[in-house]
Structure formats: C-alpha cells, structure tokens
C-alpha cells in the first residue's frame, strides 16, 4: 500500500513538474505575445513608406556603407530647411551629426556652419547638399565633391537655386558593424531604433577632421 502511495506521489510530482514547465513557458511567452497575421499590405504608390528595392547583399559591402555614411554626413553638414527647430535639434549632443562627428569637428561645425544654417533658416531659405562625384581616398583624407543648391527665398516659383560646387576633405574612422558603445556608455541599438533614432548613428563611423 505504502509503495503504491509512493508511486502515485512520484507520478503526481512528475505531472506537477510538467505543469510547472508549461506554465513557466506560458508566462515567458505572455511577456512577448505576438501574433503574425498572414497577409501583406502593398504600400500605396504615394505612400512615404514605400521602400523601393532593397540593395542586393553582394552590393552591400563596407565600401557601400562607408560611401552612404559620407553622403549622409555631407547632407547633415550643409543642408538647410526653413524650420529653425530643425537646426536646434541638429546641434544637440544626441543628434546624428554629433554621433557621426568627432568632438572637435562637431564643435567647429556648431561654431561656424550651424550659425550660417541658422541665419539661412531664419530667412526662409532652403539648401540641399549632394555628393556629385566619386569619393576617393587621398592619403589620410577622403576627397568629396559636393554641390549645394540654395533657394534664397521661399514661395517664389520663378526663383532658380544658386548652385555652388566645392570639395571637402574628411578624415574618417570607419569599422564594420554597429556600435556597442556611445559616449563611453553601453549603446542598445534596438532600443535606439525603436525610439525613432536616426539609423545613421548606429554605425561605427566618425569624422575626425574636416578640411575645406
């Protein structure tokens, strides 16, 4: 009789273990409960969410990423839109410009270029910046040919932009992969992106010197 009781007690404990295993798994899943519905939305032709074609994996080399980041840096460095809040955000220490620049470059940019951007923005000007030629390495520096188009006033449909071409030399640090640290502390890429951060700031890319 006693052995039978022991046997059933063992079975009971085993069942309890299985139940506990099931519930602990369910509790874990409840924390991250996601459903996948098997249908796909085609973004509308006019939608800003339309993504175009992804870059093929064989094209997605370090060179490709580096050039994209240099182009992004040039845009961040020069572009102007008529919203003064935009430049206020760009000069903050957590901005993408701050993330892509070394401390000296960011300080110089704030002191010189950002002031000019602010003045243009106040006057309701717009300026676009594009890289127009191949980016080539000369010694320690990357030579970048850029084109600035500046609209000196807004709401004038007769106005054509003033075009200015220039060359800028950038000394950059670039490594493969994404950052694990930023400003000395641990950097959580997923958290940063989920909070709407600019993806350009996650790469191990930094401009240490700018010569014009």
């Amino acid at each position: 009789m006693r052995k039978i009781i022991m046997f059933f007690s063992g079975i009971m404990i085993l069942l309890l273990s299985v139940a506990a295993l099931y519930f602990s798994g369910a509790l874990f899943d409840a924390n991250n409960d996601r459903y996948i519905d098997a249908f796909v939305f085609q973004p509308n032709n006019l939608s800003s969410d339309r993504i175009g074609h992804p870059v093929p994996i064989d094209q997605l080399s370090d060179k490709f990423v580096r050039e994209k980041l240099i182009k992004k840096f040039i845009t961040e460095y020069f572009y102007v839109n008529p919203d003064v809040e935009n430049i206020a955000l760009r000069t903050r220490s957590d901005s993408v410009m701050a993330a892509m620049s070394g401390p000296i470059v960011f300080k110089d940019w704030k002191k010189n270029v950002a002031k000019e951007i602010n003045t243009l923005s106040d006057k309701k000007c717009m300026r676009t910046a594009t890289v127009v030629d191949e980016i080539i390495k000369k010694g320690d520096y990357w030579e970048v040919h850029y084109e600035l188009k500046t609209w000196g006033k807004s709401n004038d449909m007769n106005l054509t932009p003033q075009v200015e071409n220039g060359i800028i030399y950038l000394k950059i640090v670039f490594e493969k992969g994404v950052r694990d640290k930023r400003a000395g502390s641990k950097f959580d890429v997923q958290k940063y992106l989920n909070s709407g951060g600019d993806p350009a700031a996650i790469f191990k890319f930094r401009v240490d010197e700018v010569r014009r």
Binding site: S24, L46, P54, K71, K72, D83, N158, L193
Partner: protein, 230 residues
C-alpha cells in the same frame, strides 16, 4: 510528561524513519522548484538570442535615413495627426490653385472675417470661399496678400492657370508631430498651362488654436515655404 521535573522523554521508535521521510520530502520540494527554475532559465536562454534584422531606407534628396518594416512608431494614426494631414493636403491644393475663373480665385484669396470661418459656412467640401484666410494665421495671410497675391494676379492676367497633380502629392512629417501640430514636408508636381509641369517642395508648420479654427479641430497653417525644384 512531567515537565519541568522530567526531561527524559522516551525515544520514539519510528522517529528515525519519520525524520528521513521529512528530510526526503523537503529535498523533493526543493528539487521541484529547482527544476521549475532551471526550465525557466532554459527557455529564457533559448529565446533570448533573437535575430532582429532591420531595413534602412535612405532618401538621397534630403539625406533622411529611417527604419522601414520594423516600424519604430505606432501604426495607429490618432485623429489629430490625420486631421493635420488633411489640413496640409487641402491647403496646398488651395494655395497652388489659379483658376481660369477669376471670381473663384478672388473668392478663395479674399480677406475674410474670422467669425465667417468659425461659423461653418466656409470650408465645406468643394467650397473654396475664404479658403486661404480660413486655414492660416493672420501673419501668414499677410505674407500671402503682400508677397504672393500680386504675382498670382499677374499670372492670371497673363492667362496662366495652376493646379496640382494630386497623384504626385506626398505628405510626410519633417520632425516630430505632436497633438498640437508640427512641421510637414510636402512634395508635389504643379501643372501650369504656360510653364508646364514642375516639382515643388514645401515645408509647412501646422499649429493649433481650437477657438479660431474649430472646423479642423483647431489646426491651421502657421508657416508655409515652398520651393520650385526643377
């Protein structure tokens, strides 16, 4: 037991086996919780290494980079945001409209009484009476009437008409959009019967005042800057 006179309690012959079974029961109890805990850790470690790829969309025109597919922001669009997009979309249509019918133009561009806008007789569907005035701040209307209107009237006198190609209209935020407004970027193609079709980029600031603009939940256009791209 004669306590406290007699401490010599007789030993229980079954005491040892009871103690052993108690000890075993406690061990089983502890082992049970250790097993549950280890199962939890096992599940956690199995699930904690998850591949979360993200796709970056880059815009070569404005240098904007953003994550697509993963959707960092909520897919739910609150009414405030939808209304702002509606205000933006309707306003650019009115701003860039030069009709061949002069009375329609004058009606849309004229200076009105703010009470007329509040009363609800304007801004009905298809109704363009006071279309510009009722959608903007006093300051922007002043800029419109002094800087823009003379040019529009000159174009009308030259027989020019404007209308936007609605299929080309794209509206996107240019910064943070709150329940009280924000800056929007609009791209569109403008069709002129004289100059042809050209691309226009617009930055416009939407603000909110529930008292003066009740028909649009208080949203109005506080600043408008457009540029001809090509």
């Amino acid at each position: 037991m004669d306590y406290p006179g007699n401490f010599q309690t007789p030993a229980d012959p079954a005491g040892k086996s009871i103690a052993v079974s108690r000890f075993m029961a406690i061990c089983t109890f502890v082992a049970f919780f250790i097993i549950v805990f280890l199962c939890g850790i096992l599940l956690w470690s199995a699930r904690s290494e998850r591949l979360e790829p993200f796709m970056i969309s880059t815009n070569s025109e404005n240098g904007e980079w953003k994550i697509v597919g993963k959707n960092p922001v909520s897919l739910e669009y609150p009414a405030q945001r939808t209304m702002q997009e509606s205000v933006v979309g309707n306003f650019v249509k009115d701003w860039f409209k030069i009709s061949k019918d002069n009375s329609e133009n004058e009606n849309a561009w004229k200076d009105c009484d703010r009470n007329v806008c509040i009363s609800g007789d304007t801004l009905m569907f298809g109704e363009r009476s006071c279309a510009i005035y009722c959608s903007v701040s006093e300051d922007l209307y002043s800029r419109f009437s002094y800087d823009i209107l003379p040019d529009y009237k000159k174009r009308f006198q030259n027989g020019e008409t404007w209308q936007i190609d609605e299929k080309s209209l794209s509206i996107m935020p240019a910064g943070k959009i709150s329940d009280n407004g924000g800056t929007w970027q609009v791209n569109l193609n403008l069709v002129s019967n004289i100059a042809g079709r050209f691309n226009v980029k617009i930055f416009m600031k939407v603000a909110r005042n529930k008292n003066f603009y009740p028909q649009t939940m208080g949203f109005y256009v506080a600043d408008f800057n457009s540029y001809r791209i090509d």
